[in-house]
Assembly symmetry: C2
Homo-oligomer: 378 residues x 2
């Protein structure tokens, strides 16, 4: 049975993926109900009203993440709207619970401007211990995350950006080790300048300041371009330092690393052959990569990673986000910073004991991921 058929079968059977359960699984007699609800709960309310730090001590917020989307960029499917986004957000809640024992609540928003999304999330943020923004389209996602991080004091992460960036960096650390490169000396072409592409570029720059050229659907992002939105303009502060212009082909020529977060089939075998010796290919477009692992290898790729679970080296956000949020909640971290993402990437890379071309990234099922990552989020 293919994943789509199984998805329909399971969603029909269970009519949803998560449910509420009670922490106290013993019998609830009248005395307990009077303690969990009125009148006893009033004592807890008064304690918290007097000392807000007790909110996380006495309520489920200590282990609670809101998974929030406006449905404007759902998986690789585009703008499906909040209704279409809901099963994905509920799926994320399933992963949070299953992989890191984190409670989470899927919230889909029927508003789509940065102002409205920020106002809505701020209004309800006290209800949660952390916020996972998900599947919000670029460039609005950048402003939303930045403003929420500035205005709220709980951990906030847009996973499409930073989960992808963290796992990509982890994979690159091991791919460089395998091919005898220093990441700081690599020439890297990043193709796709949406949420993931921008975040990957920023994190690589912060980590090793390599030579990066970013490419969007119109070609190389350079100073000659007059059609760049703000987030792409900001990329120019640290990418394309030689200010070249041109096409995807031009960007890829002589590059050590190709990172695609764009569309299926964009990278040809000829382009791979034009890259530096033993090139590293991260073809992360979903559901179909920019080049298949077979074609990439046949054209000389030393390492190929994709977003798919049916090929080796899956760059899967679920490798990073459960441990990052587990650590943020457990260690009472108020902001998830680049330092945390880099520490998480190094922790992930360290979990591959014998790095080979077919194993630069640990499996999402590696049970050391969450404890190892959460331990470095401090």
């Amino acid at each position: 049975m293919n994943p789509n058929e199984l998805a329909v079968e399971l969603h029909k059977k269970y009519q949803g993926k998560i449910t509420i359960a009670l922490r106290d699984t013993d019998e609830l007699d009248r005395a307990k109900l009077s303690a969990y609800y009125s009148p006893g709960v009033g004592a807890i309310s008064k304690l918290i009203a007097e000392d807000h730090s007790k909110l996380s001590e006495y309520t489920w917020t200590n282990n609670l993440v809101a998974v929030i989307s406006d449905g404007s960029a759902v998986l690789g499917l585009g703008n499906l709207g909040p209704e279409g986004a809901m099963p994905v957000m509920e799926g994320k809640a399933l992963l949070f619970k299953h992989l890191a024992n984190i409670d989470s609540v899927p919230i889909v928003l029927n508003v789509h401007t940065a102002d409205e999304i920020v106002a809505t999330v701020k209004a309800m943020a006290l209800s949660f211990g952390a916020i996972n923004l998900e599947d919000i389209a670029a460039p609005i996602c950048f402003e939303v995350e930045e403003r929420l991080k500035a205005e709220l004091s709980i951990p906030i992460m847009h996973d499409d950006q930073h989960g992808t960036a963290t796992v990509t960096l982890a994979g690159l650390i091991n791919a460089c080790k395998l091919t005898g490169r220093k990441l700081s000396e690599c020439k890297i072409a990043i193709v796709g300048a949406g949420a993931a592409g921008v975040a990957v570029a920023k994190l690589l720059q912060e980590y090793a300041d390599p030579q990066i050229i970013a490419v969007d659907s119109k070609g190389i992002i350079g100073h000659d371009r007059t059609d760049l939105n703000e987030s792409k303009q900001l990329l120019l502060e640290f990418t394309n330092k030689d200010n070249v212009s041109g096409t995807l082909e031009d960007a890829v020529r002589d590059a050590d690393v190709f990172i695609g977060v764009s569309s299926a089939g964009l990278l040809t075998q000829d382009m791979v052959r034009s890259m530096a010796k033993d090139p590293i290919i991260f073809a992360l477009a979903n559901p179909d990569p920019e080049i298949t692992p077979e074609d990439a290898k046949a054209a000389g790729a030393a390492v190929i990673a994709t977003g798919r679970s049916d090929f080796p080296n899956q760059v899967n956000n679920a490798i990073a986000f459960p441990g990052i949020f587990r650590g943020a909640l457990d260690n009472k971290v108020n902001q998830i910073t680049d330092k945390h993402k880099i520490a998480a990437a190094e922790a992930i890379a360290s979990l591959v004991e014998n790095v080979t071309a077919d194993e630069i990234i640990p499996s999402v099922f590696n049970d050391q991921l969450v404890p190892t990552i959460s331990n470095v989020i401090r």
Copy 2:
């Protein structure tokens, strides 16, 4: 151990009352994860994006209530703010699950104007199957509920208003039966004109159009008053038809029924003695009633109900709201109307087999409540 001490002990032990669990409790292998999340879940997203009616079929929203408060009127404790409200809302979620197997999520809002509350709730409403507004102060609660009901197509109920009104009506139906009265012929003094008082007055009027006099802290609500907010002015459309003015004493004199949703100790024995023969007293102030059952009986009350679980005849919202929301979700009701509340009140009243002065209202533990009420919410 008193409820407050037990509350502290239990909240310390469990650090919250609810948690997330997975509907599918079998092992989650790689194939299932690919169906519950990417890539398989994309098929479900596309189905829902094409046909929004499938949202409730394939996601947990079909059994999900948001419990939403801004913390402006928490229990009988007043404006404790959203932080202070959280343990109460989480307690309500515990009751929803325990009493009616309904999933619910406590959401506290850090905004307090009607415009902001309405905007926030509307923005996230698609995430839920129904909305329970809770502990929002009058008069803002009236505008918030009215606007949300007009603008959203899922069931919405402010429980402080309508839960209280429904259970009060149920109790009055049986109290009238016991004392040989027709509710339509009763003179009723309602003391307290906040959320609960206004809703009780409206529902009694809708059900039987009795003679109602409403009283607030300044005295009888009449046309001579120049200090009335909009909701109190609206009460004058059907209460105090003889346009009397005066004090609480004046309102209570010769009344058949006293309904207090005000403050402890407000009703004296002399006032009870001034009422009609065999008076009915609903002294619902929390945590301490307007008069104790002992004092009321000694002064001649035929029936006394309070809000407390340690006296007979507890008017407890938890008698009504689980069944009302269970029915609304199961029977795909889009609006909870007066007709539903009246049907629920009659269903509740019918569950007391032998009506006596000490049993006009069924226990919250009566396991027929939820099935009987939910069956009439259609």
